[in-house]
């Protein structure tokens, strides 16, 4: 049975945030990059043939038992420390009991009232409309360990989605992969900037986790997942409103867009006199809307209790301090250091951070470019390309090394800006490295004086009037001749050298 519902009414965003005060809660799941699963020795390598990375434990066969992966515990503690959390001196795993085919034991081993890390915080900086950076402190309620589920394919329906499917197929390769769930306390007071704050928080987490080396943090691959809780209230002083939870938010951009949408949708409902249904919603990337999912009106009865198959985790204070001492530099500190090293203005820095391009710029600088050039490429052509293709910058088939090579060719005079953009297209199309594309497409700037000189002479001959003006001292007129030469050479001339040659002949 399929139902079609009318599209939701959505209030204009500015109106919505004018009339209501939004509060957010973000739950981020991080897939750890351990070699083996959380409770068994099966491999976690991505993309294997279905059901080839499965054992009695992660398949939930009768008689199987879990044993905790030490590396996962270590990563959990490091994540907690990096988020300024307290680390539990004694905590346990708990069973979260619910039935679902992708959950082979029909319970998930997680942590309930004894998370390994708790009461932390993180800061993000987001520019306001005047471009002034504002700092927001986000309170982290907890970070805890749990296991991932299997993956289902829904067969027989029109779209491969669950609604209208005839049956489903289960692959348990991902069942048991270690996850860390990071939960914020309600984020209040961001007002109109709430979507941007949320995006900045997830971007910051991604950078932090990447810096720790605990996860691939690729949102498009699911190793970093974000669920966004949104609620509205009339004023900041009112009690928090009913919240919805939006899932399927698979990119930084989606985080921002989904929250923005939800604010507008909830505002429309509330100002119409309706009430918000406490439910799970799904972000639809295409239409840019959230759709209604499972109602959470009745609180889920998970019957949490300490998992009797596992024993408590009691990290010694020595171990915790050892891990703390070996943490990499905190992202905000790193950012400030890079920014000053790069000589960026606040606005330039904010743009780089907002685009999630800090690491890319840093790597490009390391590969030999100036910070400004790196910024220009990543925030210019490459961001345009990424947006057009609907992907993250990291997913482009071009990386910091190629960008540095490209800029190097420009610096060496082999390419001008126009040619460099053409070469970039070639690299993106998979034709090879910048040098290879230059070669195969014959895109190098002509700097051979002989060829240039010949072209200059031709242009002078073809434009006697302009030539006279230049002879008479009107140097600016040289532009027309330079243009003519560039056109004749298909843009492959070094404009600066052409100008020199023109002036040599005529002055």
């Amino acid at each position: 049975m399929t139902t079609t519902t009318a599209p939701d009414l959505v209030m204009d965003y500015e109106d919505a945030v004018g009339r209501f005060d939004p509060a957010l809660g973000l739950e981020v799941h991080v897939e750890l990059n351990t070699a083996s699963k959380m409770f068994c020795g099966c491999s976690t390598v991505f993309g294997a043939e279905p059901n080839t990375q499965v054992c009695p434990t992660c398949l939930g066969l009768p008689g199987s038992l879990p044993v905790v992966n030490a590396k996962a515990v270590e990563s959990a503690i490091r994540i907690g420390l990096a988020l300024n959390c307290s680390i539990a001196s004694w905590c346990r795993f708990a069973r979260k009991n619910y039935f679902y085919p992708d959950q082979p034991k029909n319970y998930q081993i997680s942590q309930y009232d004894e998370p390994i890390a708790y009461d932390g915080w993180a800061e993000v900086e987001v520019p306001d409309d005047e471009g002034v950076l504002r700092t927001y402190r986000i309170e982290i309620e907890r970070a805890h360990m749990e296991e991932d589920t299997g993956k289902s394919l829904h067969v027989g329906g029109a779209t491969g989605r669950i609604h209208g499917a005839d049956h489903s197929l289960l692959d348990y390769n991902r069942s048991g992969v270690p996850l860390i769930e990071i939960v914020t306390r309600p984020i209040e007071g961001a007002g109109r900037y709430a979507p941007a704050v949320a995006r900045a928080y997830v971007a910051m987490l991604r950078d932090l986790l990447r810096g720790l080396g605990v996860s691939d943090v690729r949102m498009e691959q699911g190793s970093l997942r974000c669920d966004a809780n949104v609620s509205l209230r009339p004023t900041r002083e009112s009690p928090l409103g009913t919240r919805t939870e939006t899932k399927n938010v698979n990119s930084l951009r989606s985080v921002e867009r989904a929250i923005r949408y939800e604010i507008g949708r909830q505002a429309a409902v509330l100002s119409d006199g309706g009430r918000i249904k406490q439910e799970t919603r799904h972000w639809q990337e295409g239409p840019g809307t959230t759709s209604s999912g499972r109602s959470k009106e009745q609180a889920e009865e998970y019957r949490y209790f300490p998992d009797p198959d596992l024993v408590p985790v009691a990290p010694s204070r020595e171990w915790v301090e050892e891990l703390r001492a070996s943490l990499p530099e905190a992202p905000v500190k790193r950012l400030r250091r890079l920014s000053s090293a790069w000589g960026f203005s606040d606005a330039e820095l904010r743009d780089v951070v907002a685009s999630g391009a800090v690491d890319l710029v840093a790597a490009t600088v390391d590969a030999g470019t100036t910070p400004q050039a790196a910024r220009k490429w990543w925030l210019g052509e490459l961001t345009r390309k990424a947006n057009a293709d609907g992907v993250e910058l990291e997913q482009l088939p071009v990386g910091p090394v190629e960008v540095a090579q490209l800029q190097g060719l420009v610096d060496a005079g082999t390419l001008n800006d126009k040619l460099a953009r053409e070469v970039l297209e070639g690299v993106l199309a998979g034709e090879g490295s910048p040098a290879e594309v230059v070669e195969s497409r014959g895109l190098a700037v002509v700097s051979d004086d002989g060829a240039l000189g010949a072209a200059v002479d031709e242009a002078i001959a073809a434009n006697p009037g302009v030539a006279d003006k230049i002879r008479a001292g009107k140097v600016q007129a040289a532009g027309a001749l330079i243009g003519a030469v560039m056109k004749a050479m298909g843009g492959k001339a070094d404009a600066g050298r052409v100008r020199e040659l023109v002036l040599e002949r005529l002055t």
């Binding site: 044993v67 590396k71 515990v73 027989g156 489903s168 197929l169 596992l310 985790v313």
Partner: protein
């Protein structure tokens, strides 16, 4: 504390057991009697007694992050009530998108 057949039906739903009306009627008084008997635990003054976490005080039992061989796929699917395309085939799942 009296458990009605309706209460039992709610619990059965939570536990995914499709009890018949006859079973519901039969079970409710039985469970009620058992609950009354086990509720004796509340007679014990245990305000400052810690609950037992484990029969023996073990902690920090871990395994190294080392990959061990998984089951061969045929063995994995051998016991499956239904399989298709190397996956477990299950009836359609209602509810929200996974």
């Amino acid at each position: 504390m009296a458990l009605t057949p309706n209460d039992v039906a709610d619990l059965a739903r939570l536990a995914r057991i499709e009890l018949t009306p006859g079973e519901l009627a039969h079970l409710a008084p039985q469970l009620d009697a058992i609950l009354e008997a086990v509720a004796r635990v509340s007679e014990v003054a245990a305000a400052d007694i810690p609950p037992t976490s484990h029969p023996l005080p073990l902690a920090n039992v871990f395994r190294a992050d080392v990959v061990r061989p998984s089951l061969p796929r045929e063995a994995v699917l051998a016991g499956a009530p239904a399989a298709e395309d190397d996956r477990f085939r299950v009836p359609r799942i209602l509810g929200e998108d996974a």
